[in-house]
Symmetry: C2
Subunit: 231 residues, 2 copies
């Protein structure tokens, strides 16, 4: 018998779907930082009772993209320049580690997947789909974490990713520019295929620097931003 492995069955709970909906709304910037999430209103919009909604919100609070104050409400996290800088510096350290772990495990399947994800980024770029471009770029970047075969590291990266995606989406929204059309990932992919691990790590660090520089400048700009209630 062929050794085909089935993926996990779909989560058939309302809770899971709510989590996905809310997460997407937050990560794409449809829900702004600091904004309050009114349970009654959202539950009515989604045609769902408050119970699964509240459970979903609990999950997102632990995921780090919502924050909750008892009897006051649940809010989208505020984004400060320091948060971004913190995430950024940790990301550098984790990238280094992920590349180190992945390096000896690279094989043809890894290279194929690398190309596939790279292609997805290029496609989103051509289509001028900003949101998707951010998504695919992070997925490309995430491959080294999936390949590193360290479950704790992967989890950590996924938590970090949520915020990174949010930060980038906010940035793009603010700039309101279409999208960079050049390909920033060519060298990254090439180095991951090559033989010099140190070079790949070095490039990853610098690559991250490029991505974050603008982001930080932007974040410092809205540092004085005031959290605004919902409605």
């Amino acid at each position: 018998m062929a050794k085909l492995d089935f993926g996990p069955i779909a989560d058939t709970t309302r809770r899971a779907e709510i989590v996905a909906l809310l997460r997407r709304a937050i990560l794409t910037g449809q829900l702004e930082p600091g904004q309050k999430l009114n349970e009654l209103r959202i539950s009515e919009q989604m045609r769902v009772s408050r119970a699964p909604l509240r459970e979903a919100m609990r999950e997102l609070v632990q995921e780090g993209i919502l924050t909750s104050i008892p009897y006051a409400g649940t809010f989208v996290i505020d984004v400060t320049a320091k948060d971004i800088a913190d995430a950024y510096s940790l990301n550098k350290v984790l990238d280094d580690f992920a590349i180190e772990l992945t390096w000896p495990q690279r094989d043809q399947r890894f290279f194929d997947e690398l190309d596939r994800r790279h292609e997805a980024v290029k496609q989103a770029t051509r289509a001028l789909d900003t949101t998707r471009q951010i998504e695919t770029a992070l997925q490309l970047h995430g491959l080294i974490y999936e390949w590193a075969d360290n479950s704790v590291l992967l989890e950590t990266w996924q938590r970090l990713t949520s915020r990174l995606q949010m930060y980038f989406a906010l940035h793009q929204r603010a700039r309101n520019e279409p999208v960079p059309t050049e390909d920033l990932h060519e060298t990254y992919v090439a180095l991951l295929k090559g033989a010099d691990m140190r070079a790949a790590q070095r490039h990853a660090r610098e690559h991250i620097d490029d991505d974050f520089e603008e982001l930080l400048a932007y974040a410092r700009g809205l540092e004085k931003r005031v959290a605004k209630g919902a409605d």
Copy 2:
């Protein structure tokens, strides 16, 4: 007027208390890995309805010490040798980073706090309080993370800590020995007070190795362990 800053007010929701109770039960090993958490039974024991209990469980699932299967139940995570090894190797990387960030910020308050926590470990050791010894040792270890002034790093560490505490508690329980009476942290504390950062980092790595070696051997032993349902 004196500039005294008030700490945050106590969480007065049942949910928060339930989270604390459950976490403690899991981290001290009172709830065994793989064990199922029956909502009705627990809610009756705690004299609480299922709503806040379920929300609490959602939080702990995201915290990584519970796992949930829709319509099947919520379980304490299984502990495999690989999980421990993964957490351990990541911990080494994070320690390195935390020490690097903390290093230039060390001051008298840091040293005082370091001594305070070290003292707490020694006291728990003298009292032969195993659980508390693990707790205080992790708190001592956590100081470099609190001092690093990187919120994302701190969060990551706290997530990791939950599991580490669980692993160590399980180990201690299995060995059923009182506790090592010697002081393993003397050198660690001394190096953090010293002038050689590299030496401190190197020692941290080796220090972790010592702690984990036993733990790994133990975990490999029960690798064949079968998840057992509740009741």
